[in-house]
């Protein structure tokens, strides 16, 4: 009995006090403003204190000079290939071949994935992060010749993409005279192709990777492949000197 009476009593008591269970509020006015976070605003030094150790470590790492380039690595190009695209794809191909010598060609990024040019001269870690800020992985595919043709025709239809180990001509948005790893393409042969996980899952509408014979994550980030390549050039006393080489033409 008590368990029933008690809540009624409390309710009656609170009703007596407030007229209802709690005060109700009505919205009567709204004022809106936006602040631009510019140098006009002072800084909170406690925040800087928090991030300074992170910044110091990061800056030291990012400012490390890891190589040199004799040419501007630029994505700007009137051709279906670009110096930056060729550098990127060749770097990944070189690094991948060390792990998996059977690889026939690589398609490690789309043109849109080339995020920043690299100026002539010293290459710092930060340059590579700006070029490739994303955490994409490299994936190796065993593809049927017919799927390889889809990949190559996608590259042709989009007026060229960064590739290495692959050469062809674009004619009416289709690929012709396809050469893979130095040999003429054969639609009846299976090929080993490395792409980023982004491309492989259809990013930028790329096609051909949906039904592979097999696929395997290499365990190498795209960016790490680029960093390794630049460092190896330096270790060998060489500078990057990428050129346009007619790997993809349009006639």
């Amino acid at each position: 009995m008590i368990s029933i009476k008690k809540p009624i009593y409390i309710f009656a008591f609170s009703a007596l006090l407030f007229g209802s269970c709690r005060t109700k509020y009505a919205l009567t006015k709204s004022n809106r403003e936006e602040y631009k976070i510019s140098s006009d605003i002072a800084v909170d030094s406690n925040i800087i204190k928090t991030y300074l150790p992170y910044k110091a470590k990061l800056d030291a790492e990012m400012n490390e000079v890891i190589g040199n380039t004799d040419v501007v690595l630029s994505k700007a190009s009137t051709l279906p290939e670009s110096v930056l695209g060729n550098f990127f794809a060749d770097a990944v191909f070189n690094q991948v071949k060390k792990l998996l010598p059977q690889v026939d060609f690589v398609f490690p990024t789309t043109k849109g994935g080339l995020r920043n040019d690299i100026a002539k001269g010293e290459i710092k870690v930060s340059n590579i992060f700006e070029l490739m800020p994303f955490e994409n992985q490299l994936v190796m595919f065993n593809l049927k010749g017919s799927d390889v043709l889809k990949v190559v025709n996608y590259i042709a239809a989009s007026n060229g993409q960064p590739v290495s180990g692959l050469r062809f001509n674009i004619k009416d948005k289709h690929a012709e005279n396809i050469q893979i790893n130095g040999k003429a393409f054969d639609v009846n042969v299976n090929y080993w192709v490395v792409a980023s996980d982004y491309i492989a899952s259809g990013g930028d509408d790329a096609t051909g990777f949906a039904t592979p014979i097999s696929q395997k994550n290499i365990g190498l980030l795209v960016r790490d492949a680029l960093l390794k390549e630049v460092k190896e050039f330096k270790a060998a006393g060489k500078s990057i000197n990428t050129k346009l080489d007619g790997r993809i033409t349009k006639n």
């Binding site: 009505a26 004022n31 602040y35 510019s38 909170d44 925040i47 800087i48 800020p133």
Partner: protein
């Protein structure tokens, strides 16, 4: 809606013929203010900060010198010193965008947000960039809740790490805040979101907002949305959400990095105002909305009485 927008340009909203009620209210509010019963709530908000710890570098780019956590924190502290009831909210995509994320995995972003005393955030698509595990690993650095109502995370590592909504009590006011995320399929690598199930944001929003407003009697309902402001196709966006729901007073948006000149007031399913705001990205801006409330006795004032809107703060 067109009319709403047009009137909004004059910084004033009237709904139907009840403008006189608003005027009357304004007079009442003087009494309420004198009695110390008028309540003011200040909402501060960010979205898509994308690991922008420091201001943009002075490299000639469009946003050079803008943003930065140290300035944002100083500004927030100043506002908190002036205002009694402040909620600091974020609409997701805390992660990715500078090497701070690549190197530290989001640890610093969350630590700084904790230091600034954020009250809540939601999940953006880029917050999955190091996978469910990568987000989970950094959560000990966040001493604020992650609100997400339309992702079913039951079968993931995050099953106990998020909540659909939270009710905040500030100066006698109850504020219900819930979160909505974008469809991850096609946007995020499937291995990064794993078993996360995306649920219809409109249905979930209506359900959650009704619960907050009607069952929990919240005085204000806020949605932290990472759906995006608007799309050319009919993909669900904040504009679609606002027009297809009721009981939401404010949508703090993100994802599309939209710089709105002023917040947008949309007529919702109830004919009431649902405000959408989004403040660009990278912490270039801090949004602020002050809401004023006055107490009333039950049934004297109907739900959704029109209220005054100014696109400036009171002097």
């Amino acid at each position: 809606m067109e009319e709403l927008q047009k009137i909004n340009r004059r910084n004033f909203i009237k709904v139907g013929g009840v403008a006189s009620a608003a005027a009357a209210l304004n007079i009442n509010s003087l009494d309420a203010f004198a009695n110390g019963r008028l309540q003011k709530l200040t909402i501060l908000h960010t979205n898509d900060v994308h690991s922008r710890i420091e201001p943009f570098p002075m490299d000639g780019s469009r946003n050079q010198g803008l943003g930065g956590t140290a300035r944002r924190s100083a500004l927030i502290k100043k506002i908190r010193a002036e205002q009694e009831n402040v909620l600091l909210l974020d609409a997701g995509d805390i992660f990715q965008g500078t090497p701070y994320f690549n190197k530290y995995g989001g640890e610093l972003e969350l630590k700084l947000m904790s230091q600034m005393k954020y009250d809540a955030t939601t999940l953006g698509n880029h917050d999955f960039d190091n996978g469910i595990e990568g987000f989970y690993k950094q959560l000990p650095n966040a001493n604020f809740p992650v609100l997400i109502a339309n992702y079913d995370l039951t079968n993931t590592q995050l099953s106990k790490s998020t909540q659909p909504y939270k009710i905040f009590k500030k100066g006698g006011l109850k504020i219900g805040v819930f979160g909505l995320g974008i469809q991850l399929k096609g946007l995020v690598d499937p291995k990064n979101y794993g078993e996360t199930q995306y649920l219809d944001p409109i249905a979930i929003a209506n359900e959650t907002a009704a619960k907050l407003k009607n069952d929990y009697k919240c005085d204000l309902v806020i949605c932290l949305s990472h759906l995006g402001y608007a799309y050319r196709n009919n993909a669900v966006s904040d504009k679609v959400l606002a027009a297809s729901t009721k009981n939401i007073d404010l949508i703090i948006g993100g994802h599309t990095h939209t710089f709105l000149d002023i917040p947008e007031d949309v007529k919702n399913l109830d004919g009431q105002i649902t405000t959408i705001n989004q403040v660009g990205f990278a912490g270039i801006n801090l949004g602020r909305i002050d809401y004023y409330f006055e107490p009333y006795k039950a049934k004297k004032m109907k739900v959704g009485t029109p209220y005054l809107i100014n696109n400036k703060l009171d002097a």
